[in-house]
């Protein structure tokens, strides 16, 4: 199987869907002539022309709202946010209009939009550019949100998102854009709401999404080599819909869980996961569920502090050792 980067996987997903469906159009800041702020859309303008690949002015509320309106008439816009941190200036469109139009019309109108872009910290860009809003999105019925952590998942989830008839928001990571992994050449999609066990284990479940999956895989290696603890790593991949079955089965097998995410702890995604575990796997637990999240403060700039603020393998290992 060929190995390609996470960036290339996203691009291939868009190319295949642009070829498959004439209604797919890519809209965003610097996506066309500049070739993408992170080069995810590099070459698309040349391949598909300016009707399909559209440079938007810096007007997130304007162009995202425009895409939502166009989708009501059957266009399938895939809109890039240079950072998900920029979503907040378009929040009314992203939360109110995209999520509510179907409901408020009694199901008469669909909003098949995709909004994608990076949502991660760890790159020294400070508090305004380091947000991870998947918990806000997941809190909004009508929306779906996925956080791919590998090139294979990035391609399969983005393709599924584009084909979906509801709004799907894809949260990527600038840190992972260069990561390389196996991606098949043939057409495939990954159903939204299907978690993936990235590493099998029997002693503890590490449950994560997005870049934290990589943190957990590294922690699992340390746990194995230094502590003889066999950790299972469950990648949620999709936050909403959520694959409860896979995560609960893992916990029922290992009887212990540490939940890891870049979200801030208060009302983060893992607060809901912890609730689900206690509600549905209480009798299987041999220890309280533990969490590793970002330290609860705005994203700090100073590089060593930023590193300390985000989940790290050694912190995950420490949490595991507290309950194993």
């Amino acid at each position: 199987m060929p190995e390609i980067s996470y960036r290339q996987a996203l691009k291939d997903a868009m190319i295949e869907e642009l070829q498959r469906d004439d209604n797919v159009v890519i809209i965003g800041e610097e996506v066309a002539e500049y070739n993408g702020a992170y080069k995810v859309t590099e070459g698309l303008l040349k391949q598909f022309g300016p009707k399909r690949i559209v440079d938007a002015p810096i007007s997130e509320a304007g162009f995202i709202g425009m895409g939502i309106g166009a989708s009501m008439l059957g266009i399938r816009p895939v809109m890039e946010l240079m950072f998900w941190s920029f979503a907040y200036v378009a929040w009314d469109q992203i939360i109110n209009n995209a999520a509510s139009v179907r409901y408020m019309s009694g199901g008469k109108i669909n909003v098949p939009v995709v909004i994608r872009g990076p949502a991660n910290g760890g790159t020294g860009v400070g508090a305004t550019h380091s947000h991870t809003p998947e918990n806000f999105i997941a809190n909004t019925p009508g929306l779906k949100v996925v956080c791919p952590a590998s090139p294979y998942d990035a391609k399969g989830l983005l393709k599924a998102a584009i084909r979906d008839n509801d709004p799907v928001y894809v949260m990527e990571s600038t840190i992972m854009y260069n990561d390389v992994g196996e991606v098949p050449e043939e057409d495939y999609v990954i159903p939204l709401g299907k978690a993936d066990v990235k590493r099998e284990g029997s002693d503890i479940s590490l449950i994560a999404h997005g870049p934290s999956v990589l943190v957990c895989l590294e922690a699992a290696n340390i746990l194995k080599s230094e502590h003889s603890i066999d950790a299972e790593v469950v990648d949620l991949r999709s936050i909403r819909p959520l694959d409860e079955e896979t995560l609960l089965n893992s916990v029922k097998k290992t009887n212990r869980a540490v939940l890891v995410e870049e979200n801030k702890p208060f009302c983060g995604v893992d607060a809901q996961i912890a609730y689900l575990i206690q509600a549905h796997a209480f009798d299987y637990l041999d220890a309280p569920v533990q969490r590793v999240s970002a330290i609860d403060a705005p994203a700090v700039y100073s590089p060593p502090l930023e590193e300390a603020q985000l989940p790290k393998p050694n912190v995950v290992v420490k949490k595991v050792l507290e309950i194993c």
């Binding site: 509320a61 266009i75 200036v89 408020m104 008469k108």
Partner: protein
């Protein structure tokens, strides 16, 4: 810098008095049939009687939340929507009852929606501010001030993308012109030559704040802000349905033939408060002002005088139309009251397409979290 030394800010200026007999001869109106002309009267009266009946239902405690009435502004929805052709679309804000009835939605479904009934146009899930009927190319009914303005650009973008010769009418209130989303939409519409006609229904008040207290603008009016976006604009007298049709048709033709947007400002007035919950509406404006618009500028009264004068209808026929509209409104109230409420299990329907279409479901995993 220019014009910063002016001590008095430009305010709302009433347009010159309408002359319907004269305006009926303008290009957009000269070819109207008697049936169409009578139809305008019927359509405007139907909106007014529907809303008067809804006001009673609200006062009887049968309608929850807000009720933003359109009374006084009916000529705008009827005039503009009468110009729509096959590929034209319409979207508006929360003062949406007039537009809904003008596109042909029934009083029954609209009244039932107000009462939160399952027979409502949105099955009782939208309410007064959120009427929709895509089969009539009516895309809402939007509750957030200016939130619909990017959507209007998007409908126009889709028409252009699909190479359809149509346009989108996107209505907004005068309060919406100070929202960022509106300005972003104007820029994008002009930058990309989108066939959208933005129509400011200027009733003089953004809730309880007058135009003078909320908006700066060039002496000529709010729509002149379009100059900054290199966009076509015009001011229209809303008391004349013919003036409305003449001005709006030009903008729609420009959109359809050259794919160019416009910003129109239609001078109008609402007699009721911002919503019926707005009990203060006689405090932020004078009784004299309200009475003046009601007596001298009411678009329906002026139109009634026109149809009588031009002998399209006689007094008796006018009365018949009025009585029929009242009866239809009364019947819709009965229909709404006799309809059932949606069921509790309906709360989680119409949220996700795939949940409502389980046979074609692509996703897996849990999507609702109601333990």
């Amino acid at each position: 810098m220019t014009n910063t030394t002016a001590t008095k800010k430009p305010g709302r200026r009433k347009p010159a008095k309408a002359n319907l007999s004269k305006e009926a001869k303008t290009p957009a109106n000269a070819g109207l049939t008697d049936e169409e002309l009578v139809g305008f009267y019927r359509d405007m009266i139907r909106i007014r009687r529907f809303e008067e009946r809804s006001l009673r239902a609200y006062q009887q405690g049968k309608i929850a939340g807000f009720l933003h009435l359109y009374i006084g502004q009916e000529s705008i929805a009827v005039g503009c929507i009468s110009l729509m052709k096959e590929n034209d679309h319409v979207i508006t804000a929360y003062r949406d009852h007039g537009h809904a009835l003008a596109v042909g939605m029934s009083m029954d479904e609209c009244m039932a929606e107000l009462l939160g009934k399952e027979t409502g146009c949105s099955k009782g899930k939208g309410g007064s501010m959120h009427y929709f009927d895509p089969s009539k190319r009516f895309w809402g009914g939007h509750g957030i001030v200016a939130g619909q303005t990017p959507l209007g650009a998007g409908l126009a973008y889709a028409l252009k993308y699909q190479e359809k010769k149509g346009c989108t009418l996107c209505f907004l209130g005068d309060g919406a012109i100070n929202q960022g989303a509106f300005h972003e939409s104007l820029n994008i519409a002009s930058l990309w030559n989108l066939p959208v006609v933005y129509i400011i229904e200027n009733n003089g008040y953004s809730m309880g704040t007058s135009q003078e207290r909320s908006s700066v603008h060039p002496e000529v009016g709010l729509a002149a802000r379009a100059e900054g976006y290199n966009m076509n604009w015009a001011k229209i007298n809303g008391e004349s349905i013919f003036d409305i049709r003449e001005g709006v048709k030009k903008a729609m033709d420009l959109a359809r033939s050259e794919s160019k947007p416009s910003l129109l400002e239609i001078h109008t007035y609402r007699y009721q408060g911002h919503s019926i919950a707005d009990a203060n509406h006689k405090k932020y404006r004078t009784k004299e002002e309200i009475d003046d618009y009601r007596k001298n500028h009411d678009p329906i009264t002026l139109y009634r005088e026109f149809v009588l004068k031009s002998k399209l209808l006689n007094e008796e026929q006018v009365k018949e139309i009025d009585l029929a509209a009242k009866a239809e409104a009364e019947q819709s109230a009965k229909f709404a009251e006799e309809s059932g409420f949606p069921k509790e299990e309906d709360i989680v329907k119409d949220v996700y397409w795939e949940e409502d279409n389980p046979d074609e479901k692509l996703s897996q995993g849990r999507i609702f979290f109601n333990d």
